[in-house]
Amino acid sequence: MAVKTCNGGGSPHCWAPGDLFYSSKSLLHHGVSCRSTGFVLTCLGLVLLAYPPRCSAGSDVTETCLTCHSDKTLSTKRGPRTVSLLVDGKKFAGSVHSALGCTACHADLEGKDLPHETPLAKVDCGTCHSQEKEQHAKSLHGKALARGDSLAPRCVDCHGNHDIVPVKDSRSAVAPLKVPFVCGRCHSEGTPVQRNRPIHQDHILENFSESIHGEALFKKGLIVAPNCASCHTPHSILPHTDPASSIARRNIAATCTKCHAQIESVHRKVIRGEMWEKQAHVLPACVDCHQPHKIRRVFYDQGMADADCLRCHADPNLKAKDSRSLGVHAQQLAHSRHVKIACSQCHSEVNASRVRPCETITHKVDCTSCHAEVAQQYQKSVHGKLLAASDSNAPSCKECHGTHEILGKLNPDSATFPTNVPTLCARCHREGKKAAVRYTGAQHEIIEHYTESIHGKGLLKSGLTVTATCTGCHTAHAILPKTDPESSVNRKNVPGTCGRCHHGIEEQFEHSIHFLADGKDGKQTPVCSDCHSAHAIGRTDQEAFKLDIMGKCGKCHEAIAQTYFDTYHGKVSRLGYTKTARCYDCHGSHDVLPPSDPRSHLSRANVVATCQKCHAGANRRFAGYLTHATHHDPKKYPFLFWAFWGMTTLLVSTFVIGGVHTLLWLPRALQMRRELKAEEARLESAAREAEGSAGPSSEGGAKL
């Protein structure tokens, strides 16, 4: 019993790599298995020392059997065939099973008289190798066997029978170097299996031997190089369509990373390693690029090199059936960021065995294979959702990034280089263009406003590439409408978005009463864009902003803004004068707090200093000036109310008295005018008469 256990444990030890292909979970199991194997081996040693006679007992049986089976002529008829029954005693003695007697395997001979009846029952390796038996039973081979497929391999077909040696022994039929040939006995061109069974790969053995793995194994003799069993497992061989298979799409990454442990860091730039397992359905599996059996360091070489594609596609007049141009400028490719990426890496689904490898292509280029993270953002974005809804206006990757001429965003020639971004977005978002036409929000002439804004000027006139561009605020790929809580321009996220550059301001703003709160009347407190606008952001030290701010604050603080305009500061600012106190000069801009807050610029402790910013000699009494006073409120401002009504009464009564006096006077004045005219005329005629007697010579003197 102990011996059986020992052998049963020994076998998985040899094939440990093959058994543990399935997942990272089985790696854990692997550790446990190693420890238990070690324990079992130790037990084996002890048992062998304690019971040497059992071994000799086996030898006795073997001796007995060999008396007949060492005869080379001993044979039997199985159907039409004559089968030799010779057992090479020497080889058996050297085999791993030599310590066991023949009857340990040929169990039906136990206690039988010799010579025995034929045929014997089939040897059941599973008596000892129960785990392998189980794996085999579930495997492709085991199931074929169960179906009665005559081509299905049994244990002996791979391992041999009486001459089984440990797998580490180079004489073993399943030694690493031999495995490809063991498998190749069935899985190579022309064999019944390859011809009659649905095997989807061709030239497996040839391809493998030419692959980087095969080369390492055969040419360099590296027995650690993977052979068939390394990927397919020795006993749990399953089709790749079976989710439990070591080469199933979900598991292939785990299988490859068993050896290529560092491969994640190699691919990290393009794919986060963990996603291979988590999102295997989205991401390409290893074999998508590194084709099974043909794996080379330089892949896609034969028939699928860029040069092969350009044989046709270099022609600028090449057209698709729907008259799309299929020409590719080699020059563009050479300067693009993807210069090291082969055509077929993006235009996947090519088949090198065709004259036109591209004729098997059925899908458009999918950038998400490599750019998984941005792809995820994009798919959630308004652009991505439109694309998913097959909207003809939706921009896909190439709309912004281009195709073969794709350049990095740090390249000034790239459409995604900061200074080019506004032009890029303007293609759709300029007034009248396809995105602007569908847009129903309040933002208009976005591009024009941006260009004139402080950001636009910084970017386009001053050439500051760190200036906020469209993508600076809206993000490049996760563009969402502001109503979406995840949008970078959603109200809740605006301070953070602006704060990415204006960090100091954000810190101040966080402590203000406006910071993401709800006002008393249910109105939401303002965020950056409510005062600074979104696209037309101007310099705050320029008149336009200074004069506009009262209206901005007044949107919510309606009454208080109105009373501001009733007092000196408000009146002069309405005249376009900017050197006077505006809302933020007293209340603070980003750190605005209610005057009751001790930190406020208008708290009792701070108000005089605030006035002194402009009025150097201000004292506490001066600070008592009512900056928001109105003379219409007798309760709050009685002095002003009565001063106003006192003056108004004085005014009205004076005007009434003066007016009535004047109006009463008017008819008399007119009458008086008539009388005077008449008198004047009388006098004039009298004068003329006098003149007439004096003569015309004195006329000049009269005029003087």
Binding site: F565, T567, Y568, G570, K571, V572, R574, L575, G576, Y577, K579, H615, A616, G617, A618, N619, R621, F622, A623, G624, Y625, L626, A629, H631, Y637, F639, L640, A643, F644, M647, T648, L650, L651, T654, F655, G658, G659, H661, T662, L664, W665, L666, P667, R668, A669, L670, M672, R673, L676, L683, E691, A694, S698, G701, A702, L704
Partner: protein
Amino acid sequence: MTPGKPELREYVRFSRLNRVLHVLMIVSFISLALTGMTLKFSYTAWAVALSHILGGFETAGYIHRTAAVLMVGVFVTHITNLIRRKKSEFGTWRNLIFGPDSLMFNRRDLTEFIGNLKWFLGRGPRPAYGRWTYWEKFDYFAVFWGIAVIGSTGLTLWFPTFFTRLLPGWALNVATIVHSDEALLATGFIFTVHFFNTHLRPEKFPMDIVVFTGRMKVIELQHDKPREYEAMVASGKLEENLADPYPPIVLRAVRIFAWTALTFGFCIIASITYAMVFAYR
């Protein structure tokens, strides 16, 4: 019909100094009104435009304060002149203030006022006015009142940090109301009632320019101020108060100035009316 013939000579009603002061008063008053009302009616588009025309609010402020100083200067000059005349002509304040030609109100003004109202209603003859009618006296003292009220509040608003050492902060608010409403009263009164009473009366139409030339026809004096005329004739002083009229070019210049001032006045009234009636907030 020789030059200097008594019929052609005119009665000199205003001294040269008083005429100059009136011109300066007009200049400063209109400047103050224009610049001040841009602020008072800042909610109207014309105020904003006017403020820009005046060189922006800051410049308008300088103009306003310069004009204020000028007006106070006019006032001080007049008082100084009074003091000088008190010494040379009247001897005592009593004679100056309560003399027959004084601008101080007296009982006769009341009877003349009542008589005038009767005349308005056709119940009696026009009162025989002396040197100063009651409305002229009213206009004269309105300046005293205006200078005192608008001047003091204006000064407070000019130096708020100084005055709040003595006054509470809200006094500035009150000062603003008083300053601006009193100015409104002054402007409105001068450009309507005063214009009508003294310059634009139909019988003097188109304009009485005596305040600029200082000269009025004797016949006019006879009509307007019969009591003064008679006193002059009785005392025989009429002749020494007569002078040759100014040459036409001077009169032309005077009329241009007067019409300009009048136009400003009417524009200001129109603007105020618009702001108060149609755009009031």
